[in-house]
Symmetry: C2
Subunit: 279 residues, 2 copies
Amino acid sequence: MTIVGVGLIGGSIGLALKSRGLADRVIGLGRDTERLDEAKRLGTIDEGTTELHDAVDQADIVVVCTPTDRIADDVRRLAAASRPEVLITDAGSTKRRIVDAVERDDRARRVFVGAHPLAGSERRGAAASRADLLDGRVCALTPTNRTPSDRFSRAESFWSAIGCRTVTLDPDAHDEALARTSHLPHVVAAALALSIPAEHLSLAAGAYRDGTRVAASDPDLWVAIFLENPEHLRSALEDFQETLDRFKDALQRGDRDELRSLWSDAKALRGRFDPPPRH
Amino acid sequence: MTIVGVGLIGGSIGLALKSRGLADRVIGLGRDTERLDEAKRLGTIDEGTTELHDAVDQADIVVVCTPTDRIADDVRRLAAASRPEVLITDAGSTKRRIVDAVERDDRARRVFVGAHPLAGSERRGAAASRADLLDGRVCALTPTNRTPSDRFSRAESFWSAIGCRTVTLDPDAHDEALARTSHLPHVVAAALALSIPAEHLSLAAGAYRDGTRVAASDPDLWVAIFLENPEHLRSALEDFQETLDRFKDALQRGDRDELRSLWSDAKALRGRFDPPPRH
């Protein structure tokens, strides 16, 4: 079992594997020896290395938990160095560009199943890892008609074994849905954080606290995600702005019924949402 | 001590008064005997009544915790029935229209100090009350040059005594600031809740959970607040949409630097915010 990228998600997968007794030996592949040492100290991996060959030449399963804009390259390099029996899966927040890029490489295509476990935190790094971060969370699998069915089954078993509820989606359908369910809320949180002049922050309370929580996330990580999914995200932003226009127009007209109807619809939808636990 | 409106805020003030030993007897004035009975059972008030005269003819301090669109009328009626020595203050989320309306009534003007304790919850009703809801929270006081200075001192003492940190603001400056720090985040939460088709809710996670939490709040309460502050709220919405436009334009250009700069500014501002505790 090899985990590539030993941050929050990679570390939490490592802890889940060990707490569930699912892997004899978890190897972490990273670029930074200090981070690898920290991950080993925290027990998220058994051994760390910066050498790709050492990390994967014996691996049955390789999980790529690097930032979205590095995943496709990593998968291709890892596939070239791995045994032909390997399963490579990933934890990237976007899927279409990654899957397209991987499928242009014959060797990588034969061993890869795209995945996205829906869990995260505004914190990052191995120190924030938790064995239960992925427990009960949805993991979207995005096979295509070129994905070998045995690799798909193994990927489904792997993500289920560490506690996820798997769902299967086309890569582009995944990105379209996630643009609304995750990427839009992140942009909105950042824009909301920017909406208060610093001198008025003391007059903000719970609505601002929660509405902007994810704006504390890492910029590089999220900018990479946005740039892997710009069309769907722009479309989600446009629809969102139209909804804001409806509020604004209703305010201008003093239209209580319309405001009430908008709010009640929002409350009803929110009421159908089953919120994940707060860690 | 009389509390008018025995819901979440009124109930929490009652509990704070009692846990701090600040009032011999807390009378609750309401319109619904069942709710008054519940408040008494929960211990947020000692006695409940639907009769305005019975509630205030002995009161030193009257705190009006009714919905924003009812406060000004309530203050005028309460002032007319109270002793001339009374202090009347309120807990409304908007201030300019309330203060303007109260000041058109000479008797009410002489006893009133507008206030807004910055605390709340998406839950409502006496059952959600907590003795510590207001503890350590900012309470904005909004006197004008027509507010008697002794009433202002007494209002400051009252809100401090139940645990608030008081700040003083002009009523319109209050509404302008709160449009951004509170009313905008509420509209944004509702619009965000509306941005996901029901069939994709299972693909939403923590960012949606937190970004939409306050959309579960009571529609009547929030529509009333929006309609008491429409100009400032529209202006806040327009600025917010301009920030979204900057994200959208940067996405269209694939402008990594601009996205990174927007995100980093948002993260820095969020980092200067001292979040209130989550109850």
